[in-house]
Amino acid sequence: MNAVATIDWHDQIFDILQDHDIKQVYHVPDAGHGKLIEACQKSNSIRTVPLTTEEEGIPLAAGAWLGGQRSVLLMQSSGVGNTINLMGLTKTLRFPFLTLITMRGDYGEFNSWQYPMGQGTPKVLEAMGVLLYSVDNAAEVKATVDAAARSAFNGGQAVAVLLRQKLIGIKNFGKK
């Protein structure tokens, strides 16, 4: 095992969220984000909100910002399509928005049902004016998420970080 493989990038993302004073974390259940979600749930300084659909994360983030708090939306690429109409709020209101997206239908995906939204994810986010960061290497997660948070909260942009399937690992349900 090399040094890179031992980097716990979930912990690093949690630290960065704390560094950037994130107070509200919205999520749906997700294996890729699972460890980060649990760390947020156990944190005293972060309030976690489970969603019925990813779409709720956009107005929640707008409301938090109206009230002076920073937030982040954690979702899978399969949920990105659910957010697209309300993603327009980030342009209309011009508020800082950060989402971290675990990719499916990406590198080596076994489930054909994941490909359409997975492959469409970067395009539809770009179409809505969301700034994209992408990371497939554990050694670059920390710096990438930090840069994305700076673009969002210092630069006032709507920003998505795509955590590529190569980084997360291929889900294979026991298949070889």
Partner: protein, 204 residues
């Protein structure tokens, strides 16, 4: 057929009467936006011109960020129908400072008063809904303090509940179908957001 007798404009004016810096208001697109603006435009109003289905979640994010302020979401039945899950999400957080008032005229007002799902069943070929009960849905989602208001005699209590009762509070108010003047707030979303934050936080 709706037998509602309450009129939305005077009702909203009563709910917002004497609004001070401790009252933060989000209104859904269309009629609810014009209603809160008719009661008096103010920086701590966030009237939406679009973003259907957004107000309840926006109110929740705001209520969590500002637990010492009262957050009031006012919207219509069509908007609420588009985001029923947000009521369950509110229930997971049980925000004590959040009240949601849905003005239910059983119509999609912005598109020409077509029946919403809250309209009665068997109400003719073009005007039938499902008799959907949004207060029952809110209660079922876990907002225990959910009720329906129909009568003029209940309005004073509605105002108190919306303004001061421990939340989360959900009130469904059956209102008449009316043709009313458009009373419009500023439209620019960034301006509305900035003036809201300036008034609340002292900086945009």
């Amino acid at each position: 057929m709706s037998k509602a007798t309450l009129q939305r404009r005077p009702l909203v004016k009563k709910i917002l009467d004497g609004a001070d810096d401790d009252l933060l208001v989000i209104a859904g697109l269309g009629s609810a936006n014009w209603d809160i603006t008719a009661a008096g435009d103010r920086p701590l109003n966030m009237p939406l011109w679009g973003a259907m289905g957004a107000p309840v979640a926006m109110g929740l994010g705001l209520a969590m960020a500002q637990p010492k302020k009262r957050v009031l979401v006012i919207t219509g039945d069509g908007d609420m129908l588009m985001s029923l899950g947000a009521l369950a999400t509110v229930a997971t957080q049980q925000p004590e400072n959040l009240a949601i008032v849905v003005l239910d005229n059983e119509k999609f007002g912005e598109t020409g008063n077509q029946a919403t799902h809250t309209s009665p069943r068997n109400n003719g070929p073009t005007d039938s809904g499902a008799g959907t009960d949004l207060a029952m849905i809110a209660r079922g989602c876990g907002i225990a303090d959910s009720a329906t208001v129909r009568e003029a005699g209940e309005v004073a209590q509605l105002v108190k509940d919306a303004r001061t009762k421990k939340g989360p509070v959900f009130r469904l108010v059956k209102v008449m179908v009316e043709k009313l003047e458009f009373v419009m707030p500023p439209q620019d979303g960034a301006h509305l957001k900035d003036r809201f934050r300036q008034a609340l936080l002292g900086h945009a």
